[in-house]
């Protein structure tokens, strides 16, 4: 392939990726409800989002679950990555494999397995079941992100710390975490995005009293295309963009 064909090909695929999202964003600022024509710039649809009290409570639900799930998944995922790297224990290979399988397995399989678990335990579906599920599906992503960085650390550092009398906890707290914070932060950011965007698992494990943004969008979209949804999707897209950008930046910094 010559240079021109290559550039044309890349452009075509990037257009495929970004044209629909671009149109969505542009129309969220269009001063017309149903028309395709440009009727001037407006922020009305965003104002409408801000005054929708129902939407505010739903957004708050999403944010609180996202923040908590990302934080707990980051703790759990980091511990997993550190254990896989530092310790030799029975079932280490199994743990490795399980993390991998959890990332690959289709969302719907995890969704119904958690639904059956919660129904067996007679746990009412809502905030808690949602939180526990989100921690579970975010955790492997953190483990993988952190593990891929930890493998690049110099093992002698741990030996040195040990020789100087540091306990395992001190090594984790004073050596590993300071060295790995970019990866840990990236893991947190990616978990937060995953949690904020998840549809399939949340669909099964939350109850009618605890609606969250993706499910709200899903039910709104089923009723038709509206400018408010364009605005809401634009906000969500912007948030994802920010998170991924930050994650990439912190990961690149210490490479």
């Amino acid at each position: 392939m010559n240079r021109l064909t290559r550039i044309a090909y890349l452009t075509a695929v990037y257009l495929f990726f970004y044209f629909p999202i671009g149109v969505l964003i542009v129309y969220s600022f269009n001063n017309a409800s149903y028309s395709l024509l440009w009727h001037g710039f407006t922020l009305d649809w965003y104002k409408e989002l801000l005054t929708d009290t129902d939407l505010q409570s739903v957004a708050w639900h999403s944010l609180s679950v996202g923040l908590l799930a990302a934080t707990l998944a980051t703790i759990l995922g980091t511990l997993t990555a550190v254990s896989l790297y530092r310790y030799r224990f029975r079932g280490r290979q199994l743990l490795h494999g399980m993390i991998f399988v959890m990332i690959v397995s289709p969302d719907i399989v995890m969704a119904i397995s958690l639904l059956i678990l919660f129904s067996t335990l007679k746990a009412p579906l809502g905030f808690w079941t949602l939180l526990l599920s989100h921690i579970t599906f975010c955790m492997p992503f953190v483990a993988v992100t952190v593990y891929s960085r930890i493998a690049g650390l110099d093992k002698n550092i741990f030996e040195a710390a040990k020789d100087l009398g540091a306990s395992d906890f001190t090594i984790l707290w004073r050596v590993i975490i300071p060295l790995l914070w970019p990866a840990i932060l990236a893991g947190w950011l990616l978990s937060f995005t995953l949690s904020l965007d998840d549809v399939i698992i949340s669909f099964f494990v939350t109850g009618p009293d605890f609606d969250i943004l993706p499910l709200k969008i899903f039910s709104m979209v089923k009723l038709g295309v509206k400018p408010e949804i364009n605005a809401l999707c634009t906000v969500m897209f912007g948030l994802t963009l920010l998170m991924v950008l930050l994650a990439q930046l912190v990961l690149r910094k210490k490479q």
């Binding site: 970004y18 254990s83 399989v109 099964f204 089923k222």
Partner: protein, 285 residues
Amino acid sequence: MKHDKTFKFITIGIIWLWLAIFAVAPNGLVFLTSLLQQGDNELVRLQLTLNSYLELFNASYLKIFVHSLLLAGCCTVLCILIGYPFAFIIARSKSRYKGFLLFLVIIPFWTSSLIRSYAIVAMLKTKGILNSLLMSLGVIDQPLHLLYSSSAVMIGLVYSLLPFMILPLYANIEKLDLRLIDAARDLGANKRTVLLRIILPLTWPGIIAGSMLVFLPAMSMFYIPDLLGGAKSVLIGNLIQNQFLTARNWPMGSALSVMLTVLMGLMLIMYWRSAKRNQDTRDLL
């Protein structure tokens, strides 16, 4: 040192406990449920039976299964055809903007596929941008009914899942040792032979990893047919959703989920075999 042992024990204990409760036990329960019977008053009756599995061979289920496999298969093939050259060009590019080009694929990878599917709905609807564009260009004079068809579902699936094909392929192609290609060329291989005998076999693990990340979700993303396909296009994901939330036939839904898990297992074996040496899981992301 005694503290260290306790610390290690507690850390590994917490991890295993979490996975046992939220990963192992739930899947065990799914398998168990698939062997039970649908109850009249309660969700399941505690009686072991293979009924749900036998029912899978029922003509109507079989039809959905085949349709779902075909749709997901086509989606995977399309993603490979579009994604492979794309990943190859970026991975082999010496451009200054290589990192940025890759970043442009990472964004859709993490963006909610619900939002991206919605963008496709807005594009394809009768009075959507695509129709007006084609009409103003004079390509068509009647708006096309693109939405609510199998092709719309296919477009939605490819749109949502293409980044999941490109990134593993990229990781794999980037590690490809160019000297092998040069060596083959020196030994007289033509372009075709180099592609078929050198490049493809070496990037095979990437192709399988990508296919796994496309094929399995393609069968289970129930909201894409819901939004783009109307009533005709039903995937296994829609069927499972329906069995759990509408038909209330949990054993049947569980049996379907077990089938998906078996499919995943087969693809994992393929992947591990092709990757032979236990590769870093990072390659997948």
